[in-house]
Amino acid sequence: MKLEAMAVTLPEVAGHPNRAPFTGVLTLVDEPSTKPPSGARGHRVILTRPAALAALPSLLGMAVDYAPSWDGHDARRKCGIITQAEVEGARLEVAGYLFAKDFPEVERQVRQGLPGSMGMSWELADAHVEDMRAEIWTLTRATFTGAAILLREKAAYRNTSFELAASRCRFTPNRLAPPQREHAGATRPLREEAKPAFPGTDRRKEPTWNRKRANTWSR
């Protein structure tokens, strides 16, 4: 399985009241959409893997928005930000923060709704279609301009998802193992490489050292 990821670093703030970490599957690459997206003139679309990878940098820092009816985008209701994006297999996964204090209705909808009922949708600008006459449009180049949280059944890709972390914490969840990732641009590793074992000679201090290391990780 090939996996590519990017992330932007935000300053860490313990117990931030307005940050609720989220993860989601934004779309599938190299697979046709379940339904024709809005603006595709009735064609279903395929976002190619190279196009998705090339567009990953444009996704970072983009907002997630929502519509009160949960059936589309409303660019004026930006309720969160995307800080990580990765292509894992066919899934383009994102993570970021929801502005939970400013948009309690979004947090309520996601937490109190049926499990798996919420999905995601991208917004693309300047998409290049390989063959406009094809039944299914193949997008070979595009720029992500945003994303939306919506009912999964309203998304053009049925297999998208959106989930909030169980509790608010300082880091967005990270499922990636460092050796598998490829980085580009102004990114940072999502997690530090494993530190060497206890370096000292006084073994009595080792448990304390390990505990401190564990605390560092948990933060």
Binding site: S38, G72, H73, L124, M132, A148
Partner: protein, 150 residues
């Protein structure tokens, strides 16, 4: 011997000329093919300004339908206006609504003219009888602008 060499050279030269002509023709064909392929590529591929991975909602479809209906009505009204102006080229277009200033309307109401839709010349002159010449001219000008009298 010399004549044989000369003939050979002439033949060689002819052959080279023919070959040059064929190469030129082939190059021309290649250029045309490249142009055609480029044109075909441009017509097949294309840019889309915005795509959103959400299905079009019924609300959008409804709004689209309303917009189409409104556009159709506008087109019909325009056609009607154009047809009217063509049928009566000398007649200035007037709106259906007849409005005058509040003071004029109040004055006319006092004189017993409540509606401006059907105003007879005699009634108007009688109503304006108590006014000075300037005032009568001013009121009539207003009524003229409003399209009440012509």
């Amino acid at each position: 011997m010399e004549s044989q060499t000369g003939e050979y050279m002439v033949a060689l030269s002819d052959r080279m000329e023919r070959m040059e002509a064929r190469i030129e023709a082939a190059a021309s064909l290649f250029e045309r093919a490249a142009t055609l392929l480029e044109e075909r590529e441009n017509s097949v591929s294309g840019e889309v300004r915005k795509i959103v991975a959400a299905v079009e909602t019924s609300r959008e479809a409804e709004l689209q339908k309303k917009l189409e209906t409104a556009e159709q009505q506008i087109a019909e009204l325009r056609a009607q206006i154009e047809a009217t102006s063509e049928a009566q080229p000398g007649v200035q277009r007037q709106s259906g609504r007849k409005t005058v200033s509040a003071s004029t309307a109040q004055f006319l109401a006092k004189q017993g003219i409540a509606s401006l839709d059907s105003l007879e010349a005699g009634t108007l002159d009688a109503a304006l009888g108590g006014l000075s010449l300037e005032q009568r001219i001013a009121v009539k000008a207003q009524l003229l602008r409003a399209g009440v009298v012509s």
